[in-house]
Amino acid sequence: MTPVTPKSPGVVERRRVRVVGGLPRPRPSAGSGARRPGNRTPWLYLAPALVVLGGLLVYPIYQLGLMSFFQYTQAQVSGGEPTTFEGFGNYAELFSDSQFWQVLLATVLFAAACVVSTLAAGCALAVLLTRVRAVPRLVLMLAALGAWATPAVTGSTVWLFLFDPDFGPVNRIFGLGDYSWTYGRLSAFFLVLLEVVWCSFPFVMVTVYAGIRAVPSEVLEAAALDGASQWRIWRSVLTPMLRPILMVVTIQSVIWDFKVFTQIYVITNGGGIAGQNLVLNVYAYQQAFASSQYSLGSAIGVVMLLILLAVTLVYLRLLRRQGEEL
């Protein structure tokens, strides 16, 4: 990468911020003492935001981490028994539990399927939005916003009714008799996936649509004049130009879908037959709140946090590498 000096203006300055986010700090240069005062100013401006974030984010996470190192159940909270330090005991218990690994695997696969489907649906509909007339566009927008605005519990309940083996219209329309969607593991996950995609594609669609609208039309026109197909335009013109937006929606989707709770909880009635549809968040809820094992639940929370951070960092890094090759 090109070495950048902090005084470089404009575009280069922007790139430097990304370097700090994604990679270790650049080697300190020899004259670091001289630019100290200048470096403090951004922190001063950031201070109010950092204080708020610190209170709302760091402190709860600190408590979460703290709890995960103790034996901390309802008996400890209400003072029935003394709190004991367990070290990594909760983590050891968690990692030796075969169910945890099954749930983790299911969560990763399920989240990956959800992210891919959501992005595919969202991007496809965003492109469609740019190519239809005003009235269908309005209808599509309204439908998407309706799905977006529906609370997850309501959406899941309606979904459950639609696919009900006895009274649901879906089985009646497709002539599936009294097929029970929530009985099989895959069909239950598929049902939840449909609901998750339904309620999260609008965010992707609206964001990507806004991005496409901001792309200068002469670029697209030039591509079209050169005879590029719609798919080719998307792949070679729009995707590179929309990279920052796609990055944001992907990371958002990864985080959302990894943390999916309501849909699983409602549709599969708390984790499905014999716990077959448990995902990490529902599992953590069962451990932490239903069973009052707050410390074990916290340990699951910390593991989730670390996984999500790792995914995000790796993703950012990959994006940067690609960016440099282009």
């Binding site: 700090v20 986010g21 994604g22 950092l50 974030l53 984010l57 760091v58 996470i61 600190y62 408590q63 981490g65 703290l66 709890m67 190192f69 103790f70 901390y72 159940t73 309802q74 008996a75 400890q76 909270v77 209400s78 003072g79 029935g80 028994e81 709190t83 330090f85 083996p165 009294d178 097929y179 029970s180 929530t182 009985y183 009635n269 708390g270 984790g271 499905g272 037959i273 014999a274 716990g275 069962q286 451990q287 239903a290 069973s291 009052s292 094992q293 946090l305 670390l306 951070l309 995000t312 960092l313 950012l316």
Partner: protein, 431 residues
């Protein structure tokens, strides 16, 4: 990004620097014993709560008259959120009530949480307590100490459709084997009905099958329980219950996920020939499509004429450890759980009294109580009085076991073995 990258470092630094533990509240028992002031009471909000409020109001009025300078403030808390409310009360003794109603399977857990007051002495001195039936007393007892007074009991029995039995020329089953064959016969002749509606998540409907075959959930006393769910006798019961799931009675695809309420709903709406329901389900069934077309008998045991041991559910009244009105609160507990209150509570709400003599009186008045009273007299069972039970219950160990067998994922031995291991883990960690 900047912030999140620093988090692990901050976290570690925080842990290293501070030797502090997460917060706990001081829930030691109060040494105050005030003889006047306000007593706060939490009771459960039932469906159709008015009659209950009336009975409670008259008890409270008498109590306030007998103790001048005291006031009783009764609050009805929703049943669904009771766990959070009670936990919150334990966490913050200052805003906690003095007297609470609680589900009897929660007793051991609440005691371990340090929330309930030991009233062994007062319960022994109470002149009415000698008539309390043994299972009800067991449900307020942990490690030989008494932590409340039983308020009412609930047991389950077999509901069946008289019209369908007549139409198909069926006899009321007298053994568990007959129960299964009768169920299949109903399903065979009336495919639109479940024979006996069962649920994979209906733990308390399944337990009688295990107990009737001589199985136990766990063996041991006090703090040291060992799971017995994988014993040969228990496995026989599990097999008997899970064999009821299938296209010839209650299709697994629909019934595996059902809980107790789902089975009652199915029966009440006329979708089942038989169901296992409680005395507390009476109102729901009466309000359904099958009103006047059903009867109730005790759930048959293995031998002809025997009754399968039922689970003795129900609620208790207890005093919180943090109360500053110990004497008054215990007295109010006794008034709320007295013979007289329980008799009027039965008239008002249909709650079965925990006193054997009172129960006999009321079942003479209301014939529908008879099968439930018979079930109680034949001997009931209770879940292990261990704080681990709450954890076993909420982490769905038994429903998971039944569902694994029903869906064909594991055989009975493997599923029972796994469940036993999970139960032992819980017993081990919760002590």
């Amino acid at each position: 990004m900047k912030l999140s990258r620093r988090l692990p470092a901050l976290l570690l630094a925080g842990l290293v620097v501070t030797a502090c533990a997460p917060q706990t509240s001081d829930n030691s028992s109060s040494d105050k014993d005030e003889k006047t002031g306000t007593l706060r009471v939490w009771l459960f909000q039932e469906v159709g709560n008015q009659p209950k409020e009336k009975v409670v109001d008259s008890v409270v009025a008498d109590f306030e008259k007998a103790h001048s300078g005291t006031e009783v403030d009764v609050e009805y808390i929703p049943v669904e959120t009771r766990a959070q409310r009670v936990k919150a009360a334990f966490n913050d003794p200052k805003s906690a009530p003095d007297v609470i109603e609680y589900g009897n399977t929660d007793t051991a857990g609440y005691v371990k949480d340090g929330g309930l007051l030991d009233v062994t002495q007062e319960f022994g001195d109470w002149n009415e307590s000698k008539d309390t039936d043994p299972t009800a007393k067991q449900s307020v007892t942990v490690d030989g100490k008494v932590y409340g007074a039983p308020f009412y009991v609930g047991v389950r029995a077999l509901y069946y459709r008289t019209d369908i039995f007549q139409e198909l020329g069926l006899e009321v089953p007298r053994t568990m084997a007959e129960l299964a064959s009768t169920a299949r016969q109903i399903r065979a002749e009336r495919p639109d009905l479940y024979g006996l509606v069962v649920g994979g998540a209906y733990t308390y409907g399944a337990l009688p099958f295990i107990w009737a075959n001589g199985g136990e959930l766990a063996t041991g006393k006090g703090g040291s329980y060992v799971s017995a769910i994988d014993s040969a006798a228990a496995q026989k019961g599990i097999k008997e219950y899970t064999s009821l799931f299938g296209d010839d009675n209650c299709p697994a695809a629909k019934c595996a996920g059902m809980g107790g309420n789902d089975t009652i709903t199915a029966f009440a709406s006329g979708k089942a020939g038989m169901a296992i329901g409680g005395d507390f389900s009476h109102t729901a069934v009466e309000a359904g499509a099958v009103k006047g077309k059903y009867a109730v008998v005790p759930l048959p045991g293995v031998e002809a004429g025997s009754i399968a041991p039922a689970f003795a559910g129900g609620n208790n009244i207890g005093v919180l450890k943090s109360t500053s009105h110990r004497t008054l609160a215990v007295d109010l507990m006794e008034q709320l759980a007295s013979k007289q209150t329980q008799a009027s509570m039965f008239d008002a709400m249909g709650f079965l009294p925990t006193f054997a003599d009172v129960r006999q009186e009321v079942s003479a008045k209301e014939p529908y109580v008879k099968p439930f009273a018979q079930t109680l007299e034949a001997g009931t069972k209770f879940v292990p009085a261990s704080p681990a039970w709450a954890q076993i219950d909420s982490s769905l160990v038994l429903p998971t076991m039944f569902q694994e067998v029903v869906s064909g994922r594991k055989d009975v031995a493997a599923a029972a073995g796994d469940a036993a291991k999970k139960m032992d883990d819980a017993f081990g960690s919760a002590g």
